[in-house]
């Protein structure tokens, strides 16, 4: 299944914030986590993650610092800030509203047969 570009873009912020709420991480690991969580359904163009991360950093939702990878190369790690946590909570509420709205309409739209007995 191909998820539309707009939807990918819209879900990027909450998804990244949520993954970072699990703990400090870096670009490649975040993408890998996205892949695992969606069972490979949600595919991003790898490079596009970075402008998103940098925007979050500029808005103060995440903070970055340079650490070392296992191989000893420089690697940029991202961590959620307090503002990021608040943003995540607000995003969560918004998505829940969208989600429950959609759920409400799915029944009547796709499944005209009366539910239950």
């Amino acid at each position: 299944m191909n998820i539309s570009k707009d939807l990918v873009a819209a879900s990027a912020t909450p998804l990244v914030l949520a993954i970072l709420s699990e703990g400090e991480s870096y670009g490649y690991a975040i993408l890998k986590r996205v892949g695992d969580l969606s069972g490979g359904e949600l595919q991003w163009t790898d490079g596009m993650l970075y402008p998103v991360l940098h925007r979050l950093e500029r808005n103060g939702y995440v903070e970055a610092n340079w650490g070392k990878s296992e191989a000893g190369r420089r690697r940029k790690y991202y961590r959620l800030t307090k503002e990021g946590l608040e943003c995540l909570a607000s995003q969560q509420r918004q998505w829940q509203v969208v989600d429950s709205t959609l759920r409400g309409i799915w029944f009547t739209a796709l499944d005209p047969a009366p539910q239950g007995t």
């Binding site: 490649y28 790898d46 490079g47 970075y50 402008p51 925007r55």
Partner: protein
């Protein structure tokens, strides 16, 4: 193999203005992780690399995305701060060194005042300051490059020689105050020492033609930065005067004895540092200016020649006129030099090359007129330091431009490569140094310090 390909990829991504080196580093880490993971899944290195690059996404849209996120970057290129996220402390340290040296230069030019050598007012010792002017900042500039390029110890000793020699010559020789030879020495010493700075810039490899060309490029960019800073300083000065005058304070003394001298010497170092720090950004400024002004100057010289022929009027030989014609040649040479420095040596001859040649030929003809006038003047009134200096300069430039024209013709007729023109220019650089030293050291002795 893999490292090589990653290196190529890195170089390719780096060319995008919107993607900064730190971002490239981050993307590279990603690419390496991806390649490794794909390798573990059983792919060969080159396959893994190809897939990893493909997954990274189309570079155009990626850099567009970066540009949207960092729209200021395309502008920030022109400002020095490498951005808050820049993790390297090298840039900061270098900024500190540059500012420190600028302050040191300001201190150096104020120091003689403690010994009663006033810089301003009726009792100002202008001749002392004029003679020593370049010694207040060029040794520091040379020191900056010696530090930055980590010049070895032997190189440092060699580097010190011209500066020590210059300090001795201009302060020990019994110059007549305000005499011609003193003025000439003051004018030529900066040129002589600037090429000594080039020695430090090239990390001692002054014989290397590529290094010499780099130094030529550096000089041009430095000049542009310096002019910009000077313009800003002028604006600052005007406003300082204006607002303090408005409340009835006289601040002229501050401007003349502090802001101006300190600014003039400090900006030399700051400009050099800016050129170094922003090398990749405005690198193309000097060539752009040459492209713009080569046609205009060609037209100017053509019209001038036509006017001379039409009216038959000769050149009035005065000091200002002599200097003016020398400067004209310097300018033509500069136009030639900077278009050479930016040109792709592989490119075939084009219309601009023909225009360049026309400019050089015009300059040669105009200069021949000037030379004739000077020679006539000398045969009538005899030698004077000014006339001989002007004549010498003229000959030095004439030889350069003359041979440049010959090489250019050979290039246009496909009998020589463009590189030979470049080589001729870089090979000629020491001639300027030699002539400048001759004027500084031997002219006073030759003309009895008049």
């Amino acid at each position: 193999m893999l490292e090589e390909r990653i290196g190529e990829w890195r170089a390719y991504v780096r060319r995008r203005q919107a993607i900064h080196p730190v971002d490239v580093e981050e993307l590279e880490d990603h690419l390496r992780n991806q390649v490794k993971a794909l390798g573990e899944a059983g792919l060969a290195d080159d396959e893994a690399f190809l897939i990893a690059v493909k997954r990274m996404g189309d570079l155009d849209s990626l850099s567009r995305e970066f540009a949207r996120e960092y729209s200021e970057r395309l502008w920030k290129q022109l400002v020095v701060s490498p951005g808050a996220s820049e993790p390297s402390s090298d840039a900061n340290r270098e900024a500190m060194v540059a500012v420190g040296l600028a302050i040191a230069a300001s201190a150096a030019i104020k120091l003689p005042e403690l010994f009663g050598l006033s810089i301003r007012g009726a009792d100002a010792d202008t001749s002392f300051y004029a003679r020593n002017f370049s010694l207040f900042m060029l040794p520091l500039l040379a020191g900056y490059f010696a530090w930055k390029r980590s010049l070895d110890r032997v190189g440092r000793y060699w580097l010190a020689v011209p500066f020590v020699a210059a300090a001795l010559v201009v302060n020990i020789l019994p110059f007549e105050r305000g005499g011609h030879t003193e003025v000439l020495a003051a004018l030529h010493l900066p040129i002589a020492l600037w090429l000594a700075v080039g020695f430090a810039y090239a990390r001692g490899h002054w014989r290397d033609h590529d290094r010499r060309m780099d130094f030529v490029r550096f000089s041009g960019e430095w000049f542009i930065y310096y002019a910009l800073i000077a313009f800003g300083g002028g604006v600052l000065t005007v406003f300082t005067l204006f607002i303090f005058n408005a409340i009835g304070f006289d601040v002229e003394w501050f401007l003349e004895s502090w802001l101006l001298p300190c600014g003039v010497v400090g900006a030399v170092l700051i400009s050099a540092w800016l050129v170094e720090a922003k090398q990749s950004v405005i690198e193309n400024m000097a060539p752009v200016l040459t492209r713009l002004f080569t046609p205009l100057f060609t037209v100017l010289l053509l019209v001038f020649l036509v006017t001379v022929i039409w009216t038959g009027s000769g050149i009035h030989v005065e000091r200002a006129v002599l200097i003016g014609f020398d400067l004209l040649l310097v300018l033509v040479l500069g136009l030639l030099l900077y278009s050479i420095s930016a040109r792709d040596p592989q490119a075939p001859p084009g219309a601009f090359d023909a225009l360049q040649l026309l400019l050089v030929i015009c300059a040669l003809v105009v200069d021949a007129l000037a030379l004739w006038a000077i020679a006539a003047r000398i045969s009538e009134f005899g030698f004077s330091p000014n006339k001989v200096a002007a004549l010498g300069e003229n000959l030095v430039l004439l030889v350069n431009l003359g041979w440049s024209a010959v090489v250019y013709v050979r290039f246009l007729t496909a009998r020589a490569s463009f590189a030979s023109l470049e080589r001729w220019q870089t090979a000629y650089l020491p001639v300027y140094a030699v002539w400048a030293w001759v004027v500084v050291v031997f002219f006073p002795i030759l003309f009895d310090y008049r």
